[in-house]
């Protein structure tokens, strides 16, 4: 399952969200980025094919993330676990 891209006027950072389609905190994170016009990619892990999930698990762990949702990775280096407005604002210059 490919990542879905949400367009935004602010695209100076590479923002990737690992999310669940059932998770209300993941929805809030996506909405926060949309409200702030930030471009991002996301994947709803629960919607992925079983074989893809293990690849995703390894991707998240290799970037220093935990297996919690949402996990937001900014510029491949800053990992934000959960819906943390304060950390998102700091990482994305909002």
């Amino acid at each position: 399952m490919p990542f879905s891209k949400v367009q935004g006027t602010k695209n100076q950072h590479k923002v990737v969200i690992y999310a669940l389609s059932t998770c209300v905190w993941c929805k809030m994170t996506k909405q926060f980025l949309k409200d702030n016009q930030i471009e991002f990619e996301f994947i709803d892990v629960d919607q992925c094919e079983p074989a893809e999930k293990e690849q995703i698990r390894q991707q998240i762990l290799s970037k220093g993330g935990s297996l919690n949702y949402p996990t937001t990775i900014v510029d491949d280096k800053t990992v934000i676990t959960g819906f943390r407005k304060d950390l998102l604002k700091a990482a994305l210059d909002v």
């Binding site: 209300v24 995703i56 297996l67 943390r84």
Partner: protein, 188 residues
Amino acid sequence: MTKISIESVRARAESDAKTFGYYLTPDPELLQGLLEGLKVNEDRYGYPSCPCRLASGNLQIDRDIICPCDYRDPDVAEYGACYCRLYVNKNFYEKKGELPTVPERRPLDKQSRAFMAATVTESTAAGKETKPTETTGEKVSMEVKSKLWYCSQCGYVVFREDAPYVCPICKAKREMFKEIKTRIDFLG
């Protein structure tokens, strides 16, 4: 499979909160989102696994994250809310503070099982076979081996992989649980 209504999901959560002296999160939008997530999972898997955690669809693997999850009681006791913040204590219900961020208490190896469930057969999950998987340097045992536990304070007995964090009957801590060792002898 018959689908569950959102009203039934809400009624069950309210009843459970009342029984255990908790409250449902006071933010109506957040509450609705959490209940909808539970409904989707129950329709999808047949049981209401936590909407904020990845479920495998295998009951044996997901048992500890079926709402109310195994981690709710210690999380509410320590942080005032459970991991997804569906259940809160009285202080947060009365909005005497912003809802806390609750760190994940579920062990990483149990989280990993949900990602690897594609490689698990029914017999493996039932504990008949062990299939360790090695990826990213760590080993994750896919074996789910349930045991009998009893609360040495009140006698409550439970058949689970791990003893409960808190006894649902008398609120004794996990340390009060002892394993019941069973043995089957075949004679003749």
